[in-house]
Symmetry: C4
């Protein structure tokens, strides 16, 4: 195979990983709506209060939508920098997708139990899982950014790399706080997760040159 062929082959490969990942993100984010249940109120006249009562469903939907959406944006930013794939990247990307596809489950738990007896446990599972998602993303990022593997398009001390690393440094700490908060106030813990998702949507200070 000529060099040009090899290069086009490699491009195709990262392209297909991105396409598969995009598919998983798109489906996981769209399946969330299935957790918004139509209330089976005995009388339609009570529909309004039944809809109001299930407000935790809407909050959980929104926070999870933000979380998956932001994970996608970050995945997108990461793969903008990635030049080629290898088997380790494939496996770590798979691990990250695993953590993302699970999101509808803790979301449904929070929607069903917040404000009830199991609310703290539900919020602890939700925030704990957010911690796991962040950890999987960090693994993927560190693997890709490792200088010895040369998977990135840019040198490892490029400002775009350093600024992403700075932004993620405190991720585990922030989500750890949300996890601890779940045992005190489930509502605040979920709210913090939403705020963190918005924070991570902000591009790093010195964004990758485009």
């Amino acid at each position: 195979m000529s060099d040009a062929n090899l290069s086009s082959q490699t491009e195709k490969e990262t392209g297909r990983i991105e396409a598969f990942s995009d598919g998983v993100y798109a489906i996981a984010i769209t399946l969330l709506v299935l957790e918004l249940k139509v209330p089976h109120s005995p009388s339609g006249a009570l529909l309004r209060s039944a809809l109001v009562e299930q407000w935790p469903s809407y909050v959980a939907f929104l926070v999870s939508f933000l979380t998956i959406g932001i994970m996608w944006i970050n995945h997108h930013r990461l793969f903008t920098l990635i030049r080629r794939s290898d088997d380790g990247l494939l496996v770590l990307n798979g691990l990250q997708l695993l953590t993302v596809t699970v999101v509808p489950f803790p979301t449904a738990l929070v929607a069903a139990y917040i404000g009830h007896d199991g609310g703290r446990l539900a919020a602890a599972i939700y925030t704990g899982w957010s911690l796991v998602i962040g950890a999987a993303y960090n693994l993927l990022w560190r693997y890709a950014a490792s200088p010895s593997r040369r998977l990135l398009r840019v040198p490892p001390d490029d400002p775009s790399v350093l600024s992403i690393q700075a932004q993620y440094r405190f991720g585990p700490l922030f989500y750890g706080v949300a996890f601890a908060l779940a045992f005190v106030s489930p509502e605040l813990a979920i709210g913090l997760c939403g705020a963190l998702a918005i924070y991570y949507a902000i591009p790093p200070k010195a964004p990758p040159k485009r």
Copy 2:
């Protein structure tokens, strides 16, 4: 990075936004079918009347299919004109996808409650949500078309841009009428939403050159 690389990189980026958006649209439009329920009639002999009775499900399915389909066509038209993406566009595109993924929920509400006590509320939520979808699309479009950002391939006074703007000018008004109508006749309000979806499927008078 050379200019050629930058340009190909930018192309790849809008390409991936389109791919992710296409995924979300495709899933949201296909999930609608899950709201068509098989009647659990005690006797199979009653299947016919049970199927006829759930006609609001079919209407709601059809109107929502049209709405999401037309949103996709318009998204498609918009991105035909977009040359490059930035962070604001990413966020506003995400907001638009959020409004689209929610559609199966008001659809299920209408299917379950129209013709019953909660019908007006269900229709008001449905038409009100259509208003929100339109608003999110307008935000996306105005951001992309803003002359200072230079995200479009064409100048801001290009006929293709002006004709799209003319078509969307009355969107909020039309959907506002549908919303008001919901409190009078839920059936007519949903019907108006269907008619508007068909209207927005018609290409603008001076279509973008292809």
Copy 3:
């Protein structure tokens, strides 16, 4: 815009229609599995007979999988010949996708009612819908193949075009027979739909040059 740009733009457009359609086909075909229900038998010991009893679910799943899969292959063959898109093609393609996304509903009807009182009605709806799918595909094909529109890459009397037309000529008749058969033997009618899906998987005699 230069001619080269226009051509690449046009390519991108049909590309995005194909991508969106592929998404819808892929989701519709994968959602079918949700109709395979885990039996809630009171005792696990009865699992075997409960699984055997729901054989119509498996048959319906398989026939619908074949039907959607074959529609995708034909859509794929059609778009291999299409050079550029226009608004009418976009609308007719949307109509075709509408007919395909609905498939899980008649499939669930057949799975639930065949062998019971409503079996004939369920089979009539299933085969009748197959007729509608075929009609929508024919519309799409005729529109694309119309000589005046010049949407195809090949002349309208190309062998690849003529052979596809020959294959589809009897489609409505075959599915009409299946529809009539539903009122006599629902099982045979569904079986005929499966056989027709396999028939349409066979490439036309003088296949398009590749």
Copy 4:
């Protein structure tokens, strides 16, 4: 058509098969989460034990996620080697997708019945289906690798081809053992399936040159 056009046409074709397959894999793998049910415990206080009790759901989810993910990686590796498609490949690829989309069903069976009376039957269906998936993949691979069809980019005795063949040689045997084991210990049988998925994630010893 010129040779260059033909070649780009062919590339587009395998591209679209990959895109459709990626969609099906992505959806099947993401739908698995729907089998993780929120326990409807009478009192929220019992949520913890209800969540612990449904551990087979989590194991089944994980093993199926691994299985589908690994099938995707292998599909990806295979299509990296495939140069062009033909009708037989299209049909065998469809067969492979059929086996993959069904996975949520045996997964749900195992989640519901392991540890109960129907556990052995559920595990036998699960492992038996894994055997079927492997057989379908083998068929696809052998068809593609057949020297007379010239579908691969590389000669049939290329190290990349030989090493893949060596890895798959014992697949049917391994999954046959898992199937037999299901009648002795359903838990061990499912565990073996998980271990095999991890084994098949390991790239073949002499990986395809990239």
